[in-house]
């Protein structure tokens, strides 16, 4: 009998599909959190593999800050139409209008932190018991500690000291009413794995991932897309640059990189040679040594 070793992408894919099917089998009302970024786009492809020709056993849920790149929203709507699956949108603006969240002031104001309020409200409103997300352990040191099935209490909080042991490929999704589980099927993937998978599977992406000309300003040493949401003033000089985005958050906290990578192959070469981590371009991680850990404890994704 020949030795069958799965290629590493096959192995990562099979593990993620297994996890998605465990969610379907173990929960009453799961949801797939979709941001329009490459990681959640990868999750959608994996869900197609896990459940087609059947329907997804969960809706897609987008927490919309209202400060998105227009390209991302266009991509989202086209994708949902192609899939024929249900999309639920939670609007941060609604949370602000209801007085549950207060818009930040000042030049570096961002709605990034407010997303948590809208997310928890959306989870409560729809009574989701599991939320599938595209977080990866290689992104950040607090995420390296995260289980694949991560239990959150009724306040959405993550308690790293009370994590369940996670053995073999057995995932314990038992929870009490009001709690929910965050599930991370691509925990074991790295940024480069995601890109290699997107290339192999020939998955379409929002255009902002590829090099394009754009009006930018420089803020705190980072290149930001010029947009009205950025509280720009006369100090902010707009210049036309050739850029692309390495992650897709909202426009107030996602920095661009100068790039000539027009094709996936170029991007993979660029990332392989880069000496800066993916989240090095996220303003939100730089607040403190434990910025991500603190946000996760508060219910952030």
């Amino acid at each position: 009998m020949s030795k069958h070793n799965l290629d590493y992408l096959d192995e990562l894919e099979a593990e993620a599909i297994h996890i998605l099917r465990e969610v379907a089998g173990q929960f009453e009302k799961p949801a797939l959190l979709f941001s329009g970024g490459k990681d959640s786009i990868t999750l959608v492809r994996l869900a197609e593999k896990a459940f087609r020709p059947g329907k997804f056993p969960f809706p897609l849920v987008h927490i919309d800050t209202g400060h998105n790149f227009p390209e991302t929203i266009q991509y989202r709507d086209e994708m949902v139409a192609r899939l024929g699956e249900k999309l639920i949108v939670g609007h941060v603006q609604d949370s602000i209008d209801q007085g549950k969240a207060i818009e930040q002031k000042g030049k570096n104001a961002s709605r990034n932190a407010l997303q948590t309020v809208t997310l928890l409200d959306t989870i409560a409103h729809h009574q989701f018991d599991a939320c599938i997300g595209g977080a990866r352990r290689d992104e950040e040191k607090a995420r390296a500690k995260e289980r694949i099935f991560s239990v959150r209490d009724e306040f959405g909080q993550w308690d790293p000291k009370r994590q369940r042991p996670e053995l073999w490929n057995i995932y314990n999704g038992k929870i009490h009413k009001g709690e929910n589980v965050r599930v991370f099927p691509i925990s074991n993937w790295t940024e480069l794995d995601v890109w290699n998978y997107i290339r192999r599977e020939n998955i379409a992406l929002p255009t902002i991932y590829f090099a394009h000309e754009r009006d930018c300003i420089t803020r705190n040493g980072q290149l930001m897309a010029a947009a009205e949401f950025l509280n720009m003033d006369e100090e902010d000089v707009i210049t036309r640059r050739n850029v692309r985005f390495r992650t897709v958050g909202d426009m107030t906290c996602t920095a661009a990189v100068e790039s000539d990578a027009y094709l996936i192959d170029d991007i993979i070469d660029e990332i392989s040679a880069s000496k800066i981590s993916e989240r090095g371009a996220r303003m939100d991680d730089k607040v403190s040594e434990a910025a991500m850990e603190d946000r996760k404890k508060g219910g952030y994704f």
Partner: protein, 416 residues
Amino acid sequence: MEILKFITAGSVDDGKSTLIGRLLYDTDAILADQLEALHRSNRKNDDGTIDLAILTDGLKAEREQGITIDVAYKYFQTEKRKFIIADAPGHIQYTRNMVTGASNSNLAIILIDARKGVVEQTNRHSFLVSLLALPQVVVCVNKMDMVDYDEATFNQIVGQYKVLASKLNLQNVTYIPVSALKGDNIVNQSANMTWYNGKNLLEHLETAEIPVDDSAAHARFPVQWVVRPQTEELHDYRGYAGRISSGNFKVNDKVTVLPSGFSSTITKIELLDKEFDEAVAGQSVTIHLQDEIDISRGDVLVNSSAKPEVSQLIEADLCWMDTRALDTSLTYLIQHNSKVTRCRIQEVLYKFNINTLDKVYEEEFKLNDIGRIIIKTADALAFDVYQNNKANGGAIIIDSRTNVTVGALMLRAAVE
């Protein structure tokens, strides 16, 4: 390219975090902004070099106390392989975290302090490696710089460990003298130990054999989800979705559904728009059968020519992972692959003293205790002996009051 998953084990001050930091640092897996953060954090070794250990301690409480609390997963890659490190705490009170990390690993690195030799923690970790049936062990005798890179010291420790390894029946053990702090024999061959002619640690990890289950005799497919689109054009479509846990399945194979015992033949193996003649262990697929049989989540398809044990009364090794002691009067849940059923621990046969490796006859099962028990399940489990087939021989126990995973089971035999 393949993935090797490994765990690192050692006592608190054996330099485990430094070893991992060194592996990541010397393979260029640390990026500029992470390195900058490392310099910013200002923790230094005695000789003024940066403290690589903080790379692995991701939580505030860990950095405050300078110890590792929970398993962290680290990723790096060389031209030959991708690696996933389960960085488990060495502390005695975190035995359950080591079991967690080890359950998914192909190889264990056990660190021994060259000044101290084999200590209690070495026994404990090696015992866990043996219990969880990790196929390969690398013993890194660390801090060789502190014993003047002395060959005799290394040989003496190798001799000590060989006694332990034979007692635990560890088959595949490699010994490497290293200094994680100075970088000797981790990624670069040491100039200080010319007497050592073996591979350095990274070379060993790059070439260690990754075990694959290629035995056709043990084909197992736990059903996770039944795909039934119930649309006009796919009215009769019924696919069984799951991941092959061991062996392989081919179209036309005769399979039996357990625990019901009905048999049928595979007509199609597919995934999205791909069809396969054969699918192997590790693959997630959807399987179609010739006959309409009642099959649901929790059932397992097996090759009809090699069936597993099917029983409601099973002898098993148990590692208890909860602060509440085991209560033999309580009903718990057991989860084995995709199957969940009620269970009771019918009898505690004995516990292991994991420092001396002796059997102890005690009823009480507390946090981090390991021993042999007999479990009774409400529905029959179709299982294999853990030592022969980990994927179908491991199970967890869940406390239905708290929903927490409280025990790890390695199933051993059906009780007549």
